[in-house]
């Protein structure tokens, strides 16, 4: 594995984001829309309901953000490059498929995680500043904030691998993006079920999920790499 080649793919992607800021804006729009409903709820909920809120894990609802944010960008990673015609020149270089995929994954993960953290920080700031103090203290629970901080990169990385896996097998970017979003939904649903206390959040569950996600992410590129078939990507399915 060559760090320089991984870095080459990573830097190229970041440069492209910088030149095409609309990609990042589009990336942030979805989480911001996602934020509207909780912000409205937090703003209008009366202090009398604070005790009720403190029994749930409203904040964990935000864990859907890192799941959904990278899906579209990850889906573009291979299929988009292929559609632009810039995949073949890259494949003619000594780059290994694992290096290519790692570079791509890091390039999607970095802005996605950053945006997910930023949106979460914005929500925390809003709650702290505009919600009734009783409501704010019911929502802003230390363990939930910690869970959000720790699980954001893990969930985002998982979503990235799902998106890239779909991207390597899709011949159309639009299809890849839709499937990628669909592929991320089960994890998003699981986090929502925890947030709404359908699945009871415990320390054991958190540790178990974290280990599972760590394993899935560590193996991600090993699982996705065999799906990356140079011949199929250049010639198309036969």
């Amino acid at each position: 594995m060559s760090k320089r080649r991984i870095g080459a793919v990573f830097c190229k992607e970041l440069r492209e984001y910088r030149r095409n800021r609309s990609v990042l804006v589009a990336l942030a729009i979805f989480p911001l829309i996602f934020l509207i409903q909780p912000i409205v709820v937090v703003y209008i909920v009366p202090a009398s309901k604070a005790a009720q809120l403190s029994h749930g894990h409203v904040l964990l609802y935000m864990l859907a953000l890192p799941v959904l944010t990278p899906a579209m960008l990850a889906a573009y990673a291979v299929a988009g490059e292929r559609e632009q015609g810039s995949l073949e020149p890259v494949l003619t270089t000594p780059i290994r498929r694992e290096e290519f995929l790692l570079g791509k994954a890091l390039a999607v993960l970095t802005p996605s995680t950053g945006i997910a953290y930023a949106v979460f920080a914005f929500f925390l700031a809003f709650v702290a500043l505009f919600a009734h103090p009783a409501v704010a203290s019911a929502i802003l629970q230390g363990p939930d904030i910690l869970a959000q901080v720790l699980f954001t990169p893990l969930l985002a990385a998982f979503s990235v691998w799902v998106g890239i896996a779909i991207s390597t097998r899709s011949s159309d970017v639009r299809v890849a993006q839709q499937l990628s979003l669909l592929g991320s939904l089960p994890v998003g649903v699981a986090t929502s079920l925890i947030a709404f206390d359908v699945i009871h959040a415990t320390l054991g569950l958190a540790i178990g999920l974290a280990v599972l996600l760590l394993l899935a992410n560590a193996l991600g590129w090993r699982i996705v790499a065999p799906m990356f078939d140079r011949e199929r990507l250049l010639i198309g399915p036969t």
Partner: protein, 343 residues
Amino acid sequence: MSKRPNSRSHALRSAHAGAQEETSCQSATGPALSVRHLSKRFGDRIAFNDVSFEIGYGEVFGFLGPNGAGKTTTVRTLGTLIAPTSGLAEVAGLPLTPENGVEIRKRIAIMPESPGLFLRLSVAENLACFADLYEVPHPSDRILSSLEAVNLADRAQDTCGALSKGLRQRVALARALLSDPEVLFLDEPTSGLDPVAAREVHELIVGLRKRGVTIFLTTHRLEEAERLCDRVAILDTTLRTVGRPDELRERLFARALVIRTRAPLPDPDHVFRGLPAVNGWSLNGQSGYALTVSDPAVAAPGVTRALVAAGADVLAITESYHSLEDVYLELVNEDVEADRRSA
């Protein structure tokens, strides 16, 4: 195993000297490319079948053929992008196997038909990315020298998306030169270019040839192949022929003198029979004659004397010339005819 040169500059010099002396497929350092009975199928469809040839270091090798003949697939196969179905090959001294893919790609460069640049990035940024992918030492110097080689040093900061098609081809060529490859595959480098831009690319290829770079050039443009290539191969799914353009002409077409007189000769057979190096004659228009000859230089003086002695007013005596296009059309038409018959 590999006899490939270790020092590139030395390699390029020695390879160039070799190419100057003899453009045969074997050089002192072994072939740059050796292909034996290579085939590629996609399901039932044959992309190319039983292809064999060798290319020496420093040689410019033209790979010609109609659309769908398998040229690009051959390049992709030799470039380790797709796996052959059967057969063997050595690329830049290494056997073509999946295990050698990375090492082979370090030694070669491929310029695909479509430049495939990152259009939002500048020329320099495009090359910087590829310099890192090739792990080129001193990338800034190499980027500059590659851009200078294609006369684009002053456009380094331009965004690729804003460049014309010809300039994009040049950037793609600069990108292919970054790693100082032993073998450079150029897949239809002048496709879609106007004559001026195509000529610029030709000049660049001539420059690379002078530097001793081994070039595998696929093209539709026969005049391009004739002008640039030491040897050519004609592929139409199977390899139809390989050789120097003049060899191919001689192989396919008998050498001939074409004669034009003011009036038809009363007895042409009497005039042409028995002349040295003249093997036969045929009518070529109303007062024209085509003489098949073994050596035009030997035949022409005798023919001239015989015509003058016969009182003919000679308008022209020329050696018939068959272009590479004639060779190509002859071979490809044979295939078309064969297909028609089998259908």
